[in-house]
Symmetry: C2
Subunit: 386 residues, 2 copies
């Protein structure tokens, strides 16, 4: 398969914004075009990700963004795969470049939810579950991930403190991320004392509803070199699915698609796990980070919590995980989360993030993005181009 690269990437701050989803998308898109020195009409593909367009009564976002960035004739699409929407849109762009159907593609993930009430936002999230047997009968995402957490506790003795440590670590990283939604340190007691959302998960075990957008130019390695002094290689892009509803799965302590996509991504990249310098994984809830680590092979089942406890997953540890603050502290603008992870990977590989959370000399970064409870999982690997 043809090689593909990222010329530039950019992200808005994640958090609360006054702008609409499309305006946030345009902000991120113009930022990346400006850095790359490109005009909109030099693009030949636009891949938008957005999950909750109904919150603005706005579908068909592609042509709106295209028009606003001066590229009204560019082919566009809007892709949805719940919380993995942007990673899937990114894969569509990669496919188009590899196929020769685009040379200079713009990917933009965007989301805006802070203007709707929490109950409505929770309902929209439920649309990402199997609504007949999950969301529609009262299983919210905190409830679904609480089920996973309870299964993990039963199987491995995971404790609420173990979960809390993930939140504490990610908040500590978020403090040093200028784009993060939450920039405050928290303690284990803060987590344990926060109110119960879905037992055993508490408020501080959960990522926030965030607004935000992220964008990047996906192109050929040759074109990327023209547009940037420090282009980034797409070393692997993989995606797999899992049986959609939790109730139909045999094992709730693991997400099959993460195992499959993670393994495939390393094969594609020709790298061992120990050659990955940073893992940006999908920690929509604290338990999700532990499960992701185990499914990716960073730890045996039930052993990820020990790595967190020992500090191994901190930015200066042996196996840094979510140096950005993760979804937990950086934030989770659903349709922008996957592209946000990729923008983070680009900055880490360039050595451009804040020193406190920079993984020194990072050469390969793996991003892991989950839609719902794993119906969709992507794993991508990025590396420097010499």
């Amino acid at each position: 398969m043809g090689e593909v690269a990222i010329a530039e990437a950019a992200s808005t701050r994640f958090g609360e914004h006054d702008e609409t989803a499309r305006e946030l998308a345009v902000d991120a898109a113009l930022d990346v075009l400006d850095t790359a020195g490109l005009d909109g009409d030099e693009l030949d593909g636009l891949f938008v990700a957005n999950a909750f367009g109904m919150a603005d009564k706005q579908g068909h976002v592609g042509p709106l963004v295209a028009t606003a960035i001066g590229a009204p004739n560019v082919p566009s699409s809007t892709t949805e795969a719940a919380c993995a929407s942007a990673s899937v849109a990114f894969r569509h762009a990669v496919a188009h470049v590899r196929a020769g159907m685009a040379e200079t593609a713009l990917v933009v993930g965007t989301e805006k939810v802070s203007h709707i009430d929490t109950l409505t936002a929770t309902s929209y999230f439920c649309y990402g579950s199997d609504f007949f047997v999950e969301g529609g009968v009262g299983a919210t995402f905190p409830g679904l991930y609480a089920t996973i957490a309870r299964a993990h506790m039963d199987a491995y003795g995971t404790t609420e403190e173990d979960l809390a440590r993930v939140a504490v670590k990610n908040h500590a990283n978020g403090v040093h991320n200028a784009k993060a939604h939450f920039r405050k340190e928290i303690t284990i007691d803060d987590v344990l004392d926060s109110y119960v959302v879905a037992d055993p998960l508490k408020l501080y075990d959960a990522c926030p509803f965030s607004d935000g957008a992220s964008a990047m130019i996906v192109t050929t390695p040759e074109k990327a070199r023209e547009l940037s002094d420090t282009p980034i290689r797409v070393e692997a892009t993989s995606q797999r699915g899992t049986i959609a509803a939790l109730s139909e799965r045999e094992d709730l302590t693991s997400i099959e698609a993460t195992k499959l996509a993670g393994r495939d991504a390393l094969d594609q990249a020709g790298l061992g796990l120990d050659e990955i310098d940073l893992f940006e994984v999908h920690d929509c809830f604290t338990i999700a980070e532990l499960v992701a680590m185990e499914d990716l092979g960073l730890a045996e089942p039930g052993k990820a919590m020990a790595m967190v406890r020992e500090g191994q997953t901190e930015p200066d540890g042996d196996t840094p995980v979510n140096a950005s603050g993760g979804l937990k502290a950086k934030g989770h603008p659903v349709g922008a989360t996957g592209t946000g992870q990729i923008a983070e990977a680009v900055e880490q590989l360039r050595g451009e993030v804040e020193p406190e959370r920079q993984v020194e000399g990072a050469e390969h970064v793996l991003t892991h993005n989950v839609g719902a409870t794993g119906g969709t999982v992507t794993a991508h690997v990025f590396g420097r181009m010499d």
Copy 2:
């Protein structure tokens, strides 16, 4: 670019169904898998199109369909581009096959709206417009296309009878389409006497809200030959956009993206317009068929109506248009319309449609699908494989 083919295609009846969008998708998917002799787990890509998932409170449809057809681990995505959603999802599949990121991809377009009231359905359609300056201030799609119709009348003297003739012709074709939503002949007077929806467009100038799903296997030519005795070649796939809001365009009598995509598709296919035996175009309203014909180059501006009047666009005419009955009579299940056009092309090229509407010896078919008022336009060309 690598060659791509369609092994099999299938469509449900378009019209009213009791099933949900996902159930319709599964019906169409299993139909096509059965014909191709494939099991779900032999697929390596699933591309779903769906526009109004909020009507069922169901997003993230990909993994649900994947699970139901026995392919839970297959990578899936759901694409939305208003009324062109399925044609864009089809292009994503083509890109993945050309890129080597999938070998045997399933595309499924699906929609279900008949269970919601007409006002709500009309609102959902409005989400496909630029909601800030169109849908949100009262411009429904009948209103937007009425604006186009009025501009066309002013520029070229198009009459309400000219528009009505498009509806009459497409209804006459729909009578012979077992999958069509409407299977009854109508007269010019029926159209003119039907109630005004948005002056000058009347009820019978408009396509219906339909439920339905269509699916196809997109693969390499080699694999297509293994799976089918009569595989179909994807001779061209093109897509372009137009400035999203009508109010920002200079000319309302034409849709720029159709001109660009149509020309590009013919270039890709290496064919002249006169080598295309059938045009399945996006006639969401009668005026849209005339504008599409003119933008595709079948007629000079303002001259398409004469071709309709003279019978040239009937199935046995020189330039058959919408032998299926088009969106007008075959129906318009938004997320399934583009794949429905492609399924029609496949059947026409195989000589398998009802004799009354079969274009004799059809060797090349062009499908034209429009999102909203042309923010998205696709043009694909399909041909027989010898």
